[in-house]
Symmetry: C2
Subunit: 451 residues, 2 copies
């Protein structure tokens, strides 16, 4: 059957059905039910991926792409079993053009590997989800992170994609030009489609110059909504932050415990300013003035690399601080709302967590209006899971009512399907029609995004 066919077409060293590989590819970083694929393929080229799709068509088997498995919504879980494609052997740089600030890569390269290559030429790829994800996975989920307030999301970085369609045909969606008004915007359509419309086998990206100078800062406020209002004021003053993160007191306490830090336990804003030395110093000073006028406490700033990383390391560890507790599962919302709705939204999030009686915190990329709740529960106690999910749902439906989205960056996968109708209304039918058009036999990552 299809497993034999795959082995003969790809060679047996490019496929595996070992217990440990089946287990590794049964799950991601979410709490969704693991499902093992029947087999995992490790293609080395676009041609290999074409062959896999031919077999999938011949035997009518599902195909699920897998990046680093760091997804938070179950996107890489092969709910229909079948073939999982792991891209770790497709991790090469195909074409690097520092003078154009562009690079073409295979999808399996991770963001830290990409930055290693880029940094050597004074360039960065700034999109930074909290995990060392693959660039293929990041394109597939339209990932972003702490720098979205300046650089946008993955979709804003993608110039061109090579895609293997469900039919096995290969297309390119763009060019290497920085802008284009030619044809329909397929790059944008495939970005964020979570492997449901086609398989990404090549990616051309924008890179950016490493800013000459960076200043980090942190301050605290008495209430969470005061933090959110302060973030809004920064944006209204036109201060060009590179990063602006909100972290509530609970999360500070959690990370203090996890990493033996000694950060003031209070609702905090973390900043980074980057650019030319003079410009950045001016901006950091202006930000400090504005924050002090709004009554902040504990303003601290730092411009050497070591001090900066001290100010910020804690921020980067918070997700793990919640996740490292044994016997505890973590769920969370990923809402993004118009900035003016942030203060009421963070207060509402806080209320919901308190009402649930569970342990949980709030943190977010507030420069975009995006924030997360992280709610811990005991997965063996069903009522705890129900309560945890209720906080997500109530918060997310409120975000949608206020003109926001159910997912600012993590994507839909399994976990956010229930919000699609409320968020997209009649447009859902158009999305389903596009799925049906491009993947008529529903081979590509079935069960994701839509029910």
């Amino acid at each position: 059957m299809f497993i034999e066919k795959l082995k003969s077409l790809l060679g047996s060293e490019l496929v595996s059905a070992s217990e440990s590989e089946l287990y590794r590819h049964s799950k991601d970083e979410s709490f969704h039910q693991p499902v093992e694929p029947d087999i995992i393929c490790f293609p080395e080229s676009t041609d290999d991926v074409v062959k896999i799709m031919q077999v999938a068509n011949e035997f009518n088997v599902s195909v699920t792409p897998y990046g680093a498995g760091s997804g938070l919504e179950g996107q890489a879980i092969p709910v229909n079993k079948g073939i999982t494609i792991n891209f770790e052997r497709m991790n090469k740089v195909i074409d690097f053009s520092p003078e154009d600030l562009t690079i073409t890569i295979q999808p399996g390269i991770t963001r830290s590997e990409l930055n290693e290559v880029s940094n050597r030429q004074g360039l960065i790829f700034p999109i930074d989800p909290g995990a060392d994800a693959t660039i293929g996975g990041m394109v597939a989920t339209n990932a972003s992170g702490t720098t979205a307030v300046r650089y946008g999301s993955m979709r804003d970085q993608v110039l061109d994609l090579e895609i293997v369609l469900a039919s096995g045909k290969v297309i390119r969606t763009g060019t290497k030009a920085k802008k284009s008004s030619s044809g329909y915007h397929l790059s944008g359509l495939f970005t964020g489609s979570e492997g449901t419309l086609g398989i990404i086998t090549g990616i051309s990206l924008r890179l950016h110059g490493i800013p000459e100078h960076t200043i980090a800062a942190r301050c605290t406020f008495d209430t969470l909504s005061a933090c959110a209002e302060a973030a809004q004021t920064i944006l209204q003053c036109g201060i060009q932050v590179l990063r602006m993160e909100l972290v509530d007191d609970k999360s500070i306490a959690a990370v203090n415990a996890y990493g033996n830090y000694d950060i003031p336990v209070a609702h905090s804003l973390f900043f980074e300013f980057a650019g030319t030395k003079v410009g950045v110093e001016e901006e950091a000073k202006l930000a400090e003035e504005v924050m002090r006028e709004l009554g902040c406490n504990n303003w601290e700033d730092a411009s050497t690399s070591k001090e900066r990383s001290q100010l910020w390391t804690a921020r980067h560890e918070i997700a793990y601080a919640y996740r490292h507790v044994k016997g505890v599962a973590v769920t969370g919302a990923d809402v993004c709302v118009p900035i003016s709705k942030l203060p009421e939204m963070v207060d509402y999030a806080r209320l919901l967590i308190e009402e649930s009686g569970l342990n949980g915190g709030i943190l977010g990329h507030v420069g975009d209006g995006n924030f997360h709740t992280l709610v811990s529960f005991n997965p063996t106690i069903p009522s705890e899971q129900t309560k945890a999910e209720y906080t997500n749902e109530a918060l997310t439906f409120r975000a949608i009512e206020l003109g926001g989205t159910c997912t600012g960056e993590h994507g839909v996968g399994l976990g956010k399907r229930k919000f699609q109708e409320a968020e997209h209304g009649a447009a859902i039918e158009v999305m389903k029609d596009i799925k049906q058009l491009l993947d008529p036999s529903n081979l590509l990552n079935p069960g994701k995004i839509f029910y």
Copy 2:
């Protein structure tokens, strides 16, 4: 028949078939053959547009949206006749949220009207094609202009669209959140689709703060490729220009004659730097140093609003300088290539124009790698038109070979259809399938983008 039905459904004051209206809606700013529609509708609401689509379906009549008619590729010419929809009565602001830097508008508002509203709150909408286009037309062509190097194109500004589909159903493509990973990216798909996939009846956009301080500058180089290399160096140094325009000596001569200016007739770079006062002054100084090191001549800069506009007015008038000559038609390429290919591309453009024996110049938004040729010809002499078109074609095919696009900003319409196959290859089939899916009876702006 359908005209009677439209009159009875919309009321006769919202339809016209007067000679002058038929003439006005038969053409745009391109040299493509005018075609008159059968009737023009002036809807006042989304509901009116739905009614128009119902009539179009019932009588199987083509529908062509019309903005300001400033398109350069014949996009608004109703080649199959039928119904033209003019949006001038749908030009209202629906929701303005300065604190979120967002605004929701109807499609018929022009960019200068939008800026009037925005400026009152210290905000701007920075996308600036050379004409006072409607925002609906600008979304439909994914327009951009001199500020794309900083702010990107229309697609980068669009948060949400209200679309009337060919079926008459109304959908929304996004939300008011600044980023989202939910569902397929329909906002990006409809943006740039030139009225062929759906009719835009509402638009939510990002706005931006007005920079505190601006400095304009201009300098010249001995050769065109030296200008292009200098532009490339500016980008590599990470200098954050707001605008960076290349204008060749022929175009300077043309605009001097047109506007009675006295600008040094040489290949020129025009700059604008914007941000905080200290930061901008630093950047302008750095740019000057870099340009002088590269051997520029005639460096001039200015920071008062009056002097700045003196430095730049000429740049804005060039398109008209070519177009105002009686009995002369103008055609031009709109290529966009990776920045490193610019020097060879501008030299090649120059060579092609010289070989054609026609009058023409080169200018462009070189910060993005986008530039235009403007070639004048006598439309009553077929051999001149052939030669003019040959320069476009040779240049555009070369751009595509070098990883570029046939249209950086003007769109495809009628004039760039011949390049679609070369640029998009097999992806064309996917685009045609999407058109067929969303508009199975080919009612919406038929004949555009594809043959």
